[in-house]
């Protein structure tokens, strides 16, 4: 009987192209997000399987630090899963170039994503896309609403208001105006330079021009953010030079600091820790009414193994990942990791809602150093860490820092030579 059914199934699958997988197929997902295992097993996979009978999904994450090595050896051995969670930029591009990831440009569902969202998983010329964008993190500032109310200040929208607010908090003395240290360096670049910078270099416009070699890091729009960062120093609290990332998180969640230059990934962690109300404001613009730009940084995508035995089922799954339904499940289960599809997602977490609402008001971009520009030596991203720290400390002038970065980039990147 079973055999008959199967024959029937096979026959029908051969006849009906749209249901090429009548018998149960199992898809395996490779991922580094072992933190999200329960989320996948309890929410995402059941939702998919309910809609697509006949496809079973297995989520098999490995430890984040080992993921790249494990995945590469599995791919080489031909034992990797059907679906592969993609790191942004060069790591996944290398997999595509080695023939491990399938070209998904033709997939209809890719139309649900903006060019910026897709840019992390495209070839340099943008001709091929190889991963469906899953989530991004947005930069901005999280603030202590109770403290702001106590001091009678509003969330700032322009730079003047921003520094005026910090000055008020400093004069009052109850709170450290802003919780950020320079000891670990990356915060200064990620939450500092790449947070406020897009407003100066006009987001994608500047970033693309830099990649094309039309703008230089010595241009005013790339140097000015350093000058602004230099003005942060007096508001960072005593001994910020030796303050680490966990120090800053603790200072803010303990209610000792009023403003926290943030990435949205902090939301779920902070929600569990704070006993005051939090709000968020986007990077302040220079003059009231200016177009605002936010860093909406692509972080996770998912692609298909070219050697998958069930390419059609895998594509069905990818199309579902690109759908608004997936976006809504994913975005609400992990507040702070925002789905990238263009259909807006209704968020439940108020802070996450605030962050994601900026997408409607501002132009999105990604961190300026991540695509292409950090391929060579010296590494532009690492250099930007050092430069941002030096700017805050006032160790060098913004112009000198811009020159240094430009010299480093020009030493290996042809369009900048």
């Amino acid at each position: 009987m079973k055999r008959n059914l199967m024959t029937l199934a096979l026959a029908s699958s051969a006849l009906v192209a749209t249901s090429a997988y009548a018998e149960d197929v199992t898809l395996t997902i490779e991922s580094w997000r072992n933190d999200d295992l329960t989320l996948w097993q309890d929410k995402i996979i059941p939702a998919f399987e309910a809609e697509h009978p006949g496809i079973k999904v297995n989520f098999t994450p490995s430890a984040p630090a080992e993921y790249n090595a494990v995945l590469n050896s599995k791919l080489d051995a031909g034992s990797a899963g059907d679906l592969i969670t993609c790191r942004p930029f060069d790591a996944s591009l290398a997999l595509f170039e080695a023939g491990h990831l399938a070209d998904l440009s033709g997939m209809e569902a890719m139309g649900n994503f903006s060019d910026v969202a897709k840019s992390a998983w495209q070839t340099d010329d943008g001709s091929a896309s190889f991963c469906v964008p899953m989530a991004s993190v947005i930069h901005g500032f999280i603030y202590n609403k109770d403290a702001f109310a106590e001091l009678g200040i509003e969330a700032p929208t322009t730079e003047d208001e921003f520094f005026a607010a910090l000055e008020t908090i400093k004069q009052d003395g109850t709170y450290i105006p802003m919780a950020m240290g320079t000891n670990d360096q990356w915060e200064a670049a990620t939450m500092g330079y790449n947070n406020i910078g897009p407003n100066y270099w006009k987001g994608e416009e500047g970033r693309q021009a830099l990649i094309k070699g039309e703008q230089k890091l010595t241009d005013p729009q790339w140097v000015a953010p350093y000058a602004t960062l230099a003005k942060w120093a007096p508001y960072l609290g005593d001994g910020y030079e030796a303050q680490t990332y966990p120090d800053s998180q603790n200072l803010f969640t303990l209610g000792r600091a009023a403003v926290y230059p943030a990435g949205s990934w902090e939301i779920s962690g902070f929600n569990a820790l704070v006993d005051f109300e939090m709000g968020a404001f986007k990077p302040p613009v220079q003059n009231a009414g200016d177009t605002c730009y936010i860093s909406d940084h692509t972080d996770i995508g998912i692609g298909m193994n070219t050697k998958s035995a069930n390419p059609d089922a895998a594509k069905t799954f990818l199309a579902w990942v690109a759908s608004p339904e997936f976006a809504s499940i994913f975005g609400n289960a992990l507040p702070g990791f925002f789905p990238l599809s263009e259909t807006p997602v209704e968020m439940e977490d108020p802070l996450a809602k605030e962050f994601v609402s900026w997408r409607g008001e501002c132009e999105s971009t990604i961190r300026s150093t991540y695509q292409i520009l950090s391929r060579g030596t010296p590494n532009l991203e690492n250099d930007t860490w050092g430069a941002s720290v030096a700017a805050i400390k006032g160790a060098e002038t913004p112009e000198a820092l811009g020159q240094k970065l430009q010299d480093g980039l020009a030493s290996w990147y042809a369009p900048q030579q």
Partner: protein, 304 residues
């Protein structure tokens, strides 16, 4: 006449150590030296001779980092030589004083940090010196010296010295123990003979004990040299792979790590990393040879 037997047991007893040592030390060492002569071009490993070294010393982007790391390494070593070893000798001299009470307690207390992991030491000192939670600022405040406090680990001009002193704190037990053992082995008769000649107290230390423990001090110096030029863990645990602020605590170990394994968006380059590792090996080799042939062989030894 019996033929001399082949003494198989020597080979058998040596084999485990030789095999293990070859597998985990000698082979990787030579393989690293070999790797330094290759480079990756278009996914292929090709032999490039000394090009990596030419880049390392000739390209300003690389050579600046290398000389910075080497200079920092020398400063790290100098701090150890000027602080750790004299303190170690002094502690040993005090501990070997026959009328000191609780000597065993002090000895253990001073030695214990040596057995702690670098990660613990780095983390604990980071907390102690933290301007936010640390006890260092409040302790200085209690004695009215708050003005002297600075976020030492975050300032270019102090960070390396601070880390070197943390390392001194951790390892001062080792010279202390070695010198202590050397001091204990000096026969009483010699000291008594000196006393008869009128050499007592401090001058007995300077004129009799110190010359007798000089070989031990020499060994300690060379151990410090090798240890410092191989150092990596403390800096990595306290300041991360970028050895901030602004590479002021970057030593050869962290420079090699960053290059070999990559960091953040920077992809690892095993070949340049091996070139740096080879340079480190050469520096240590030269240092040890200078010591062995230049100092140790001229050192006067006394038959006790």
């Amino acid at each position: 006449m019996q033929k001399p037997r082949i003494r198989w047991h020597i080979a058998v007893f040596l084999a485990p150590a030789v095999l293990v040592y070859t597998a985990v030390m000698i082979f990787p060492l030579f393989n690293t030296l070999r790797l330094a002569l290759f480079s990756k071009v278009d996914q292929e490993r090709v032999f490039v001779g000394l090009t990596n070294f030419r880049t390392l010393f000739g390209d300003p982007i690389w050579s600046e980092q290398f000389w910075n790391a080497l200079g920092n390494n020398f400063w790290f070593f100098i701090v150890h030589m000027l602080v750790q070893n004299p303190i170690g000798v002094a502690l040993a001299a005090i501990l070997s004083h026959p009328r000191l009470r609780f000597a065993a307690l002090y000895r253990s207390a001073i030695f214990i940090p040596t057995i702690l992991s670098f990660v613990i030491v780095g983390f604990a000192w980071k907390l102690i010196l933290s301007p936010i939670w640390g006890i260092a600022p409040s302790m200085l405040d209690a004695v009215g010296l708050k003005a002297l406090f600075a976020p030492w680990l975050g300032k270019e001009e102090y960070a390396l010295t601070t880390l070197a002193l943390i390392s001194v704190w951790q390892f001062v037990g080792i010279p202390m123990m070695l010198i202590y053992a050397a001091l204990l082995s000096i026969p009483e008769e010699i000291l008594e003979a000196g006393e008869i000649d009128g050499i007592t107290g401090p001058s007995a230390f300077w004129k009799i004990k110190l010359p007798l423990i000089l070989p031990s001090i020499g060994i300690i110096s060379i151990l410090t040299f090798v240890g410092n030029f191989n150092a990596f863990d403390l800096i990595y645990a306290a300041q991360g792979a970028l050895a901030g602020p602004d590479f002021s605590t970057d030593i050869l170990g962290t420079f090699m790590y960053r290059t070999f394994f990559g960091f953040q968006l920077q992809l690892g380059d095993p070949h340049m990393g091996s070139a740096i590792a080879s340079a480190m090996f050469a520096i240590i080799l030269i240092g040890v040879c200078l010591y062995l042939f230049g100092i140790q062989s001229r050192m006067r030894r006394y038959q006790l």
